[in-house]
Symmetry: C2
DNA sequence: TTTCGACGTGAATACGTATTCTAAGAATAC
DNA sequence: GTATTCTTAGAATACGTATTCACGTCGAAA
């Protein structure tokens, strides 16, 4: 049998509201009584019931995270792992917990929306890689439910969103190679319909214009295996570039493998820059230059805004935030002669 | 203004309990009325309030996951990423959600315990890599709170736990090398105080006895960098083995790097077997033989038992379950001559 | 001494649902 | 035709907390 405020009240010879007032730090309570109640609470090890509390108050103390992924999709995706890690870090010590859910398809996504929001299970929602055309977004807006997008594919300014600046990322990756003296630079992207590919290619196009007439873009599926196969085509292509920007570290790993099995060297035969700056980058011999996504900053800003929204404070402007990326230079993009000069 | 059962009742000209009965599928309700209520519910897009529901019923619909990790600790830890992925997969479509929390130290861990359990925020708890001597465990047991341990360091049979069979894992890794003809096998472990190191070493000891008099065990910190350094010592040691069992894929990566920079080859100069069977294993040239942890099976069993416990069914025996591991053989442990024979 | 705030506290109520209790009517049995 | 189930649905209540309302007391101002 759980101990409630009523029990505490009876023992301390006060009324239940008084116990509640002590708990909420209401100043209008006699110090004598306050200390007596506090003592009874501590000796009986009382804890308020979160369920009753969240029914009575507005706040449930939960922030929902909804991700659309295939089964096991988190396992080898450093982006999601970092994201969740950063979210949990952010929430440590704050009066919110993370309610994380995965959906497999659109249908379950809609029912999850009902389950989480319309039933008021969570106070706010983080949506990842959501497509803004998504019906859910409109319903969320119509219901005036607090939510924040991580990634804002359509660049919609009406929606609270924090986005990684993928165009910028693509540009600085390319500009770095230009600065290193490369004049024929290619881009190995993921599936063309993905936003991340489109945006990074856009940045690549902006920067590559300076040194080459014709852009060189290849597409492949995600993952090291697919990238390895495409890398073979690239190496044999008449358009073979001197340097390659690769969409993520795993795919870059595939390129490295292909180069290695063709007895070619990085960066001499092919310079490489990739994205995400995951632990993989240090595992490549000489290191893999990579554009870090600053996920912590994305999460910090997203959650800060979301919490403000939930707590009815004015969310900090601007409505749409784009977080810059940072390049970590390692051996894969620095020609040997430069290294030798040091 | 939210729409409630009372509103629905008024519109449909029935009482609130009737609406509740329709919702719970109570058979003792006139079909005519039932359909009328259902229609009103759907036209007004009614959704029951999860908070009120969980106050009234026993179930909150949340399962807590508590992990003790440093800040950002999830980022490069494939074990935790897989774990969370598997948990979320398991819960898809089930009437539970995952409430994931991270703690940085013991103090916050205890307060988190209060926050999650004593306040009845979650229905049950998953504890990972917890030390059974932990005070929390005793409190959980005393409070008869449903919980399950993933990993059971003390082998306590009283506690519901699902554990990866690390002794078995260490043994099959070693036996595989023995079967491949190696006669001088070493083990590169993590910090000696960690359970995972102790258990896998134990398995190594059992299996290595068959072929060598003296076990060869080294310790290093976790991570590729620390392992790389220790690998240097191992390679230069007079006890240098022909084959090395390495505690996890990241550490094995460090060993590979060291071998590569010493112009030595895998498996010719040093055969390798590691643990976790993560995506890294396919990134090593020739592939890295690794013992897979079967995290899905661990999670499935743990959650299945936990849910039964929550729902007051008898948990399936045995109380302590040990999930076997499986070896994925790749190039790093197969001497070249064998490959050539195929 | 009377009157009026201010203060501190308990009584009552609300949050939205599920369940128990009760009553009215229909159906069955004698 | 009355008595007894059986069915169905409404009334009342409980879950545990926070808040509003009302009331008594005390001190200060008149």
């Amino acid at each position: 049998m759980r101990i409630t405020q009523a029990d505490i009240a009876k023992i301390a010879n006060v009324s239940q509201p008084t116990v509640s007032r002590v708990l909420s730090g209401d100043s209008r309570v006699e110090p004598t009584i306050r200390s007596r109640v506090l003592e009874v609470m501590s000796t009986h090890n009382y804890r308020p019931d979160a369920r009753a509390r969240s029914l009575r108050q507005k706040r449930a103390g939960l922030i929902g995270l909804v991700m659309k992924r295939p089964k096991g999709g988190l396992t080898d995706d450093p982006f999601f792992a970092s994201l969740m890690s950063a979210i949990m870090d952010f929430l440590v010590g704050k009066p919110y917990h993370l309610c994380a859910d995965m959906t497999l398809d659109e249908t379950s996504q809609v029912s999850l929306y009902d389950e989480l929001l319309r039933s008021r299970r969570v106070d706010g929602l983080i949506l990842v890689e959501s497509e803004a055309k998504d019906e859910r977004i409109h319903r969320l807006q119509a219901d005036q439910f607090p939510f924040v997008l991580i990634g804002n594919p359509l660049g919609n300014e009406d929606i609270l969103s924090v986005d990684n600046d993928n165009v910028h990322a693509g540009r600085i990756a390319t500009e770095h190679l230009v600065a290193q003296g490369f004049r024929k630079i290619g881009f190995l992207a993921g599936p063309p319909e993905t936003t991340v590919s489109r945006d990074r290619i856009e940045g690549y196009l902006q920067a590559s214009r300076a040194v080459q007439e014709r852009p060189l873009v290849w597409h492949s599926d995600f993952g090291a295996n697919a990238a390895r196969e495409t890398a073979r085509q690239i190496l044999e292509s008449p358009d073979r570039p001197e340097a390659l920007v690769v969409l993520d570290d795993f795919m870059a790993m595939g390129v490295v493998q292909r180069l290695r099995s063709a007895a070619q060297r990085v960066p001499d035969d092919m310079a490489l820059v990739s994205f995400n700056d995951s632990a993989l980058c240090q595992l490549v011999e000489g290191g893999l230059t990579s554009v870090g996504l600053n996920i912590e900053s994305i999460v910090y800003n997203a959650l800060d805004r979301l919490v403000r929204l939930i707590e009815d404070e004015a969310p900090s402007a601007p409505h749409r935030l784009v977080v810059p990326c940072e390049l970590s230079v390692r051996g894969s993009s620095v020609p040997r002669r430069e290294v030798a000069q040091r």
